[in-house]
Amino acid sequence: MSAGPRRHLLSTADLSAEDAMLILDTAAEFARLADRPIKKLPTLRGRTVVNLFYEDSTRTRISFETAAKRLSADVINFSAKGSSVSKGESLKDTALTLEAMGADAVVVRHWASGGAHRLAHAGWIRSAVVNAGDGTHEHPTQALLDAYTLRARLGGLEGRRVTVVGDVLHSRVARSNVRLLATLGAEVTLVAPPTLMPFGVEGWPCSSSYALDPVLPKSDAVMMLRVQRERMDQAFFPTEREYSRRYGMHADRMAQLPEHAVVMHPGPMNRGLEISAEVADSARSTVTEQVANGVSVRMAVLYLLLGGSEPAIGTEDEGERR
């Protein structure tokens, strides 16, 4: 690795507007490449990117893998079994192994909030760390690809009104999006039942509402979050039917949106619960674009962390706080 401070992408809170715009602009350049017959660039030849996944997420892993391969990096997929219940090899020992293997970047998906932060800052490895989702904390590349998609569809982000609907409390996608979109000048409104609204949401850079319908006519985009059915058993909401009726996106609600507004979903979707098939398959839906944009954005992130020149993305190593 080149000398200088280690760089990571752990949280969208660490990105300035300039950092984020650089990633989006770089992603746009890579997106043009996707239309060419030969999609590969030699940029990261000889570099090793490890996909370290403590949680199954085929779509995120494939997206990162495709991104790294298009930049000619060597990719190692390391799926680490083990959870809070059944402990496998410790994160530390896995990190030491990756360090010994000479990983230049580690893309980590972890079920524990702070997993990526710990990997980046505990002193176990020197690689760049990309957070591919940590517990209920953050999923920064998802937010970046959402911002990319919004910018492409709405022609910009400044002043655009984005409504995020669903299980905000447990959603890393929502956390990363709120921070990034606020940084980029969008106005975010969170919509959720009170049980699924974060405890201290008043302090977040957004507004919030328990009701969806009044917000719809004022939305340029609505982002539907995946709702896990197990939340029902924990009394976060009474039944799927009631959730769907109060917070689901279906044709009637879609009709209340302005003409130009789009409906987003990070996937995988629960059709019939938070989004109806009619909406998911409509022209307003950006679901498949989001997938395609994901590859370009992740190429940009890997490129800027490993090969790209100034300016940096992510934060410099802040070390352990006391």
């Binding site: 809070s84 402990k87 410790s90 909030s113 505990a122 209920t136 949401v201 706080r321």
Partner: protein
């Protein structure tokens, strides 16, 4: 046995005078063969008493043993510690409490007073043989399922009633289990920012509120372990105003540290109950100052390196406390003017000994009393180095912090366990 002349110490921070120790007791006049300790500038306190210590033996000798933990206690100025029951096997029988008690006597660094479990295996289902533990050689008086809450109200009621037969106390780890499933840190704005499941104040306060009412109803002694929130202080203050038989403790870490430390996801700051807000810290300091909170208890909780060298969610909860407690109290309570040294003696020795019913501890520094005492150099300052601690574990949240005060000597019934700031090998 060595006799001592302690020259020029300030008992409880008062005017300097000489203290004489003969045959393990404070004496009127010096023994002819007395060894002199130059104590000019040192504060003399009754030997500190900890109501809440995890010594980990039997079962987790990789984290701590009775020997290593009682050396750490002596280094911190303690002459007595209460060994919590959540060992493996659990201290829920006369056999186990007597084993721990005997190990403490053999080690000889401080009096190790076992705490007995309230329920068999601290499983919260059936009462353990509390009477057998009370009548054992270990003479158990405090019973606690610490680490777990006796959450079943009926069982808690019976435990409170039952211990009246032998003057026992039930020490409750107040944590409503359903409100804290998977809880990782204080619930508030920060827990949601960090994506860590919240441990709400109400989960502590609801149990304390219930328990003080049960204590009143049964007329039995309740002790509240490690209370950590402003609301808990209010409830205990109210219960005391009603004359309910309730006492409470606060830990050094809840007097000094706040939840902001969790931001870096370093599990050395993971503890149960969790670090709270600045307002809570202010409230527990005020409660300790006005006596709503009776004592400082360390909740010394040693863990091996691997239990903290991992993801936050996987890490064990708990912090070391014995060797830093007095310094933290000096910083948070004395330097701030909230307590004088007599107050420190009261909260770290006198009241703790009274709650634990240890007759030889927490006594005045007067002629005829057992020579359990601690000499503190209040002018010293030290940077906490984990590697220099006497505990077998290293999980101190104070690493790298400069804290005031250093224990110069500790005497246990006249025997020096610490001299010149060093633990005396026995």
């Amino acid at each position: 046995m060595t006799n001592w002349t302690i020259k020029g110490a300030s008992p409880l921070g008062g005017p300097a005078r000489d203290l004489y120790v003969r045959e393990g007791r404070i004496a009127e006049a010096p023994a002819p063969d007395a060894t002199v300790i130059d104590a000019a500038g040192l504060i003399a306190l009754p030997g500190l008493v900890d109501l809440h210590t995890h010594l980990r033996e039997p079962g987790r000798e990789d984290a701590e043993t009775v020997l290593s933990g009682s050396r750490a206690a002596a280094a911190g100025g303690f002459t007595a510690v209460h060994a919590m029951a959540n060992t493996d096997p659990v201290a829920d029988t006369a056999g186990v409490v007597e084993q721990v008690w005997r190990l403490g006597r053999e080690a000889g660094y401080c009096d190790v007073q076992p705490v007995g479990a309230v329920t068999v295996g601290i499983a919260g289902e059936r009462l353990a043989e509390l009477g057998a533990m009370a009548e054992s050689a270990a003479r158990v008086r405090i019973f606690s399922d610490d680490g777990h809450c006796v959450s079943d109200a009926a069982l808690m009621r019976r435990a409170l009633e039952y211990v009246k037969a032998f003057g026992g106390v039930v020490a409750q780890h107040a944590q409503e289990p359903r409100l804290t499933e998977g809880a990782q840190m204080n619930e508030g704005e920060l827990s949601d920012v960090l994506g860590l499941r919240g441990w709400p104040a109400v989960a502590e306060e609801a149990i304390i509120a219930r328990d003080v009412l049960l204590a009143a109803h049964t007329g039995s002694r309740l002790h509240v372990c490690h209370l950590s929130t402003a609301g808990s202080v209010e409830i205990v203050r109210w219960a005391k105003s009603k004359g309910y038989p309730v006492t409470a403790e606060v830990t050094p870490h809840h007097l000094l540290l706040t939840e902001d430390l969790v931001r870096g996801y370093d599990p050395v700051y993971k503890v149960n109950p969790p670090l709270r807000s600045k307002d809570d810290v202010e409230a527990v300091r005020a409660g300790l100052a006005d006596g709503a909170i009776d004592v400082v208890a360390t909740d010394h909780a040693p863990h091996p390196v691997e239990a903290k060298d991992c993801e936050w969610a996987v890490a064990a909860m708990g912090m070391l406390g014995l060797e830093t407690a007095l310094s933290v109290v000096q910083q948070t309570m004395v330097a701030t003017g909230l307590l004088d040294w007599a107050g420190v003696a009261d909260r770290m020795s006198v009241r703790a000994a009274r709650i634990g019913q240890l007759e030889e501890h927490g006594r005045p520094l007067e002629v005829g009393e057992p020579a359990n005492l601690t000499l503190l150099d209040p002018a010293a300052a030290r940077v906490i180095e984990p590697a220099s601690l006497h505990s077998r574990s290293r999980n101190t949240p104070f690493a790298g912090l400069e804290l005031p005060g250093a224990v110069h000597a500790t005497l246990l019934r006249g025997t020096a366990t610490v001299l010149d700031g060093k633990v005396v090998d026995r």
